[in-house]
């Protein structure tokens, strides 16, 4: 690849966008710590893994499917290709690994330049496709909002949703489900929030908004530590469209978490639905949606499953060694974007569930104190020497002369003093039990080979060439055509209220059709 000035300009802009947002997210959103997991040590290990492995793994994925096609395919499903994974995790884990290595003198800002350009270009193309309906690249760019879904899917969520009010059985069951499943998600993800995602808000009327809440990687699947303990968790991914009244979601950030004005409380929730999806489902599949009573009982059943699995998993984790905890946490973080390999039908456990031997070297440095302080320095005061800039500089949000990430120097266009790549995939290790060959999907429990085979043979109906570019802009002017009607009917096939209703309805019509 011959480097161009334009390429470097764009890549540095993408790096800088991540600098700006990462500082804001870390300042306002969290302090991550745990007395159970050595969180900072595993996070840093995952960053090294991302630096050494993402370029090769992303290139491998694109030999099967282009990033923008993956983005198109995952728009209508609640799998781990959402904001925490792709919007923020993919670029920032890679860039944090790079920044640590620069700080330690192990690489220069102009090392692995082809890798940097490629990883960020992959990210950009995926994000633009995934965000196609709101035409942004990130939630940040959209003022912390994400309107990913097309009208035809939103109409189904709206039409099939059941109203609820605080104190009624459905409200109680739905609230308990979201609390228990959030908690289970944090435990599955070794104290990180990456099992959870919210998108929206979508406007239902002048008083009500809807957000779409995803709970992902809940069943036996990619993570070895869920083998057995999650055997009776019946769905790997669950999605809850949730309507609220009396509060506005003013922030849906690139970690997929929300903030509202006034702060969201359970009594604001006035409507819910429940769906599942994965790489083998055509779109979202309704779960327990035939009646209000069935949905209530389904939430109650799933809540109990989540609580039981939480208890079993907690006991398993409480018996782990520190190395096992670090492995699990680092693997969860590093593999945050693994589902793009599932979508492409090329997922390999050895790619995503092992600690790369180049990253493994650093383990002796990763005590709790170094982990906490170096992470604090790199994300808070930006006080790693390589992060500091000239004295006139005022960083966005931070107002200090520093940036989270080093830019690529343009001087390499003059002197060609740079390196292209960190190299091919190297072997990995783990202290965890090996993964059993069981993967819960919407087509049952499959072996990985069978899972990949079925995915390779499957194209979601609305992602075929006939429909792929029939976007919301096209539908605006062609809603009365047979082709538009066909697309809506495909999406509506499992809808309780909208089956065969076609493309002609507007939001007010949907409201009249509701239970």
């Amino acid at each position: 690849m011959n480097l161009t000035y334009a390429q470097l300009l764009e890549t540095n802009n993408l790096i800088q966008q991540n600098t700006d947002e990462t500082y804001w997210l870390c300042l306002t959103r969290t302090v991550q710590e745990s007395k159970l997991f050595p969180v900072s040590p595993y996070m840093i290990l995952s960053y090294f893994m991302a630096f050494y492995r993402y370029p090769t793994l992303l290139r491998k994925i694109e030999t099967h499917m282009r990033a923008e096609e993956i983005g198109d395919r995952v728009r209508s499903r609640g799998i781990k290709c959402q904001n925490p994974a792709m919007g923020w995790g993919l670029p920032n884990f890679y860039l944090l690994g790079r920044q640590y290595l620069i700080s330690m003198g192990l690489i220069r800002p102009q090392d692995a330049v082809d890798d940097i350009i490629y990883v960020l270009d992959f990210w950009k193309r995926f994000q633009l496709a995934w965000h196609r309906n709101d035409a942004h690249m990130t939630n940040r760019e959209f003022g912390h909002r994400a309107q990913i879904l097309p009208e035809r899917r939103l109409q189904i969520f709206h039409a099939d949703m059941y109203d609820c009010a605080e104190g009624d059985p459905l409200h109680t069951a739905a609230q308990a489900f979201m609390a228990a499943t959030s908690q289970y998600g944090f435990l599955v993800s070794c104290e990180s929030r990456i099992a959870l995602h919210n998108q929206g808000p979508y406007k239902l009327d002048d008083e009500r908004e809807m957000i779409v809440r995803d709970f992902m990687d809940l069943a036996e699947g990619d993570y070895p530590w869920l083998d057995g303990v999650a055997a009776d968790v019946p769905y790997n991914n669950l999605t809850v469209p949730m309507a609220v009244k009396g509060c506005h979601f003013n922030i849906i950030d690139d970690w997929g978490s929300f903030e509202s004005q006034p702060e969201f409380k359970s009594h604001h929730m006035v409507g819910v639905g429940l769906y599942t999806s994965d790489c083998l489902s055509d779109t979202y599949l309704p779960v327990g949606m035939e009646s209000r009573e069935e949905l209530t009982h389904t939430f109650e059943m799933l809540t109990q499953k989540a609580k039981d699995a939480t208890g079993r998993l907690w006991k398993r984790i409480a018996g782990w060694t520190r190395d096992q905890m670090i492995d699990a946490g680092a693997i969860v973080y590093f593999s945050i974007c693994k589902d793009i390999a599932h979508v492409a039908g090329c997922y390999d456990s050895a790619d995503w569930m092992l600690i790369d031997e180049r990253a493994e070297r650093f383990r002796p440095l990763l005590n709790d104190e170094y982990g906490n302080l170096s992470l604090y320095e790199i994300l808070g005061p930006l006080s790693h020497p390589a992060q500091r800039g000239h004295d006139y500089q005022l960083a966005q949000h931070a107002n200090i002369p520093a940036n989270t990430y080093s830019l690529i120097p343009y001087s390499i266009l003059d002197d060609a003093d740079y390196t292209r790549t960190c190299g091919e995939l190297k072997p990995g290790i783990t202290y965890l039990e090996p993964k059993q060959d069981r993967y819960r999907t919407t087509q049952g429990v499959l072996s990985l080979a069978e899972y990949n085979r079925r995915v390779k043979a499957f194209t979601p109906s609305l992602c075929g060439e006939k429909y792929r570019y029939k976007c919301e802009s096209w539908l605006k002017y062609h809603h009365d055509t047979p082709l538009a009607d066909e697309m809506y009917r495909i999406e509506q096939v499992a809808s309780r209220r909208l089956k065969d209703c076609g493309a002609g309805l507007k939001r007010a019509d949907i409201e009249k059709l509701r239970d």
Binding site: S34, K35, P38, G105, L106, E263, E377, P385, T419, T421
Partner: protein, 249 residues
């Protein structure tokens, strides 16, 4: 000695914390030494020989050197201190006696009991504003052993868990049984804050408290305004008060 690229950094000086500075200085020294020994150009070295000659045992030696100087690491995960007590500062033990323990924040705002017997013991960041304040019994939850004990016996009714872990995993199997949570770390956006909001459990994060003992009756001002992201960003104080409830004199 060879110069590394970062050695001519005009603006960067050193890391702001001693352990990070010590480790990174040692790693950079190691890289310089191995680079010179390789006899290669940087471009040949960086993703070639460097990955063979800069090894895990070299990093282990850096860790050992700092310990030899007498440094002991501050621990955050209990397992770290338990597995390697010689490398970490002393920590709590599984059988820790909590009867006389209390969190002691240096900035805790305290006051003598008022006429109603309310004794101010500090403040915290309220996660969600409720219609009434919360009264319950303070019980420290600081270890897996305590969680396991409550998992087996059940959490006593009315428990306000006093926790120094803002994560969502340590207390995962018993969190739902708490009446309230008083957490000495984190922010309202920390995982524990998110989960208590989902469960509808009143919670203060970032609690700066002093003198609360196991079994004390405690009152949280959960009627206080919830702290916002903007308040964190601008450094604005927005807190609820924490009182010990004494019998009126």
């Amino acid at each position: 000695m060879a110069k590394l690229y970062g050695d001519t950094d005009k603006f960067g000086e050193q890391n702001s914390t001693p352990v990070v500075e010590a480790f990174h200085t040692a790693v950079r020294d190691l890289v310089r030494r191995k680079f010179v020994e390789s006899g290669q150009s940087w471009s040949e070295f960086v993703f070639g020989a460097a990955q063979q000659v800069i090894t895990q045992s070299e990093f282990a030696a850096i860790d050992a050197r700092l310990l030899d100087y007498g440094h002991r690491y501050v621990w955050s995960a209990v397992v770290s201190q338990e597995e390697r007590p010689e490398a970490y500062l002393p920590g709590q033990t599984a059988g820790e006696d909590l009867s006389n323990f209390s969190f002691e924040h240096p900035d805790a705002i305290t006051a003598l009991p008022d006429a109603q017997g309310l004794e101010l013991r500090g403040v915290g960041d309220n996660v969600v504003k409720y219609a009434t304040d919360l009264i319950g019994t303070a019980r420290y939850v600081r270890s897996s052993a305590t969680v396991l004990a409550y998992l087996n016996s059940g959490v006593p009714p009315g428990t306000i868990a006093v926790i120094d872990d803002s994560g969502g995993t340590l207390t995962a199997p018993i969190l739902e049984q708490f009446t309230g949570v008083l957490c000495a770390g984190g922010t309202v956006r920390s995982h524990l804050g998110i989960l208590t909001r989902e469960y509808g459990i009143p919670c203060f994060m970032n609690a700066r408290i002093s003198g609360l003992k196991e079994g004390d009756t405690v009152r949280l001002e959960t009627t206080a305004v919830a702290k916002t992201a903007e308040a964190y960003q601008k450094g604005v104080e927005m807190t609820g008060r924490v009182w010990r409830v004494n019998k009126p004199a």
